[in-house]
């Protein structure tokens, strides 16, 4: 019963998020600040993970295919590309962002709740839900696809770096593999997934932060819950979207 109530409250919160802003200019300023806080500040982490996971994926592919005389070397690049575009960059990077950005959103909004800053907004007549959450949603939905695209590029580059410098494949073979049987829709599919993931990464933690009750301990707990439930939502949405878009 509590779960149903929480889901209902979450959708009511979403309804408030999309109310007309009090002052558009203030929201635009907030949007750019959120791009910096949620997006740009995550770029280093995304780049690091993408490069090295790409490298590991290509080495594992080489390890699995290496001894088989019937599989050409360029399949290492092809399978690395597919793994990164279809799953690693959109899904795993989103789960990583759910941890980093989700905990930040839940704890920052939660801290505002327990220190009455949200009450102060409400008393002034500001729609606190829209003010605090709408710019985060807009920033995540527009900027996370860029992060995921850069992750794809860096992952594939990491794969090239590791496989070429370890001598399992040449640059030419790697480039041939990358170009082989390339379906641009896979990138579109990945970006569609990312938009959905970005939406839940911004809204589920915001929900947990906004409705937190108690003190600093509860703020910490709400951040943990937010990350767990955002990850669960990402996994479920990933399955549903894959079924709808690819099968």
């Amino acid at each position: 019963m509590a779960y149903i109530e929480s889901i209902g409250k979450y959708f009511l919160l979403l309804k408030e998020v999309f109310r007309k802003p009090e002052k558009t200019k203030v929201y635009i300023d907030l949007y750019f600040r959120e791009i910096e806080d949620l997006g740009l500040s995550s770029f280093g982490l995304v780049a690091f993970f993408s490069f090295f996971i790409g490298a590991v994926v290509s080495l594992q592919m080489a390890f699995n295919m290496g001894d088989n005389p019937f599989i050409a070397n360029y399949y290492i690049a092809l399978s690395t590309r597919e793994s990164i575009i279809l799953e690693f960059s959109p899904t795993i990077i989103s789960i990583i962002l759910a941890g980093k950005v989700g905990s930040y959103i839940a704890s920052s909004i939660g801290a505002m709740r327990v220190t009455e800053q949200i009450d102060a907004l409400e008393v002034m007549g500001v729609n606190s839900i829209s003010y605090l959450i709408a710019p985060k949603v807009a920033a995540a939905v527009t900027f996370f696809p860029l992060l995921v695209m850069s992750s794809m590029v860096l992952g594939i580059f990491g794969g090239w770096f590791a496989s070429v410098f370890s001598g399992v494949v040449s640059t030419t073979e790697y480039v041939i593999g990358l170009q082989m049987s390339f379906k641009p829709f896979y990138v579109v599919y990945a970006l569609i997934k990312t938009v959905f993931f970005a939406f839940v990464i911004a809204t589920i933690p915001a929900y947990f932060g906004y409705y937190v009750k108690g003190g600093s301990l509860e703020v910490g707990r709400s951040a943990t819950k937010a990350v767990v439930w955002t990850t669960v939502a990402i996994i479920l949405i990933n399955y549903v979207l894959t079924q709808l878009l690819l099968v």
Partner: protein
């Protein structure tokens, strides 16, 4: 002026406010006093719309705030200033940004015009030169001043304060009390302060409402408070040795 009629508020089966009638006067410091758990904070939060009462009427001048549509409510809220117990300053904003926030959200003033108003109110609360500091860099008393500056930046007609002296030393508390009194009289606003600090009562209490267990048990001025025979307030006021001595002096 604010008039309250038969205000009731429950949380589940617990009735916190049990039909309160009260009047708060313009240009006066109106104090709500009572022990912890007496319903003071719920009462104050019901008045400013953070809690929705189960029944009753709350008139701001002649309009019942519970009957207003969302546009009218928004207009009313622009006329309300609130100082929270913990100041509730936006910790990611500087002092200047905090005070400017309501102006930025609800007026079409230019940046220069807003800055002039910010300087004006910061000067009024004796906080010049702290514009670029963050709340965490300020003392408790300074944070309260910033909260007051933010609350009055829109020139409200109604000012609410929830325990403005909590966590302050007695000397700073008196400074804050007197600042609130001066601002109330200068601007002829209706100020309602929630407190259990008897020093504040002595210092600034024009109209005092005493709550006990969600019921208004007594109402009057501080002078009347010292001569009343009302058992509930006598029990509250003279719970400390200091006030028992003061009562002796009064007599």
């Amino acid at each position: 002026m604010i008039t309250i009629k038969n205000l009731r508020k429950s949380f589940g089966d617990t009735e916190v406010l049990k039909g309160i009638d009260a009047e708060f006067y313009r240009g006066k410091i109106n104090l709500i006093i009572g022990q912890s758990g007496s319903g003071k904070t719920v009462f104050l939060k019901s008045l400013i719309g953070l809690h929705v009462p189960n029944s009753g009427e709350i008139y701001f001048d002649d309009k019942n705030s519970l009957d207003l549509n969302s546009k009218e409510k928004k207009l009313l809220r622009m006329n309300i200033g609130m100082v929270f117990q913990g100041s509730a300053l936006y910790d990611s904003m500087t002092v200047e940004e905090n005070v400017m926030f309501p102006l930025r959200m609800f007026t079409d003033k230019s940046n220069d015009e807003m800055l002039v108003r910010v300087q004006e109110v910061l000067k009024r609360v004796n906080l010049k030169g702290s514009n670029d500091k963050y709340p965490s860099e300020l003392s408790g008393g300074m944070q309260k001043r910033v909260a007051i500056a933010r609350a009055i930046s829109m020139k409200p007609r109604f000012l609410f304060c929830d325990e403005p002296n909590s966590g302050l030393d007695p000397k700073t508390a008196i400074v804050i009390d007197n600042l609130l009194k001066e601002i109330t009289e200068e601007n002829n606003i209706t100020t309602i302060i929630n407190t259990h600090d008897m020093n504040s009562v002595m210092e600034i209490g024009d109209n005092i409402i005493f709550l006990k267990d969600g019921v208004k048990k007594w109402n009057g001025s501080k002078e009347e408070m010292f001569v009343t025979d009302n058992e509930a307030i006598v029990d509250f006021v003279y719970s400390s040795e200091l006030f028992r001595k003061i009562k002796g002096l009064y007599k």
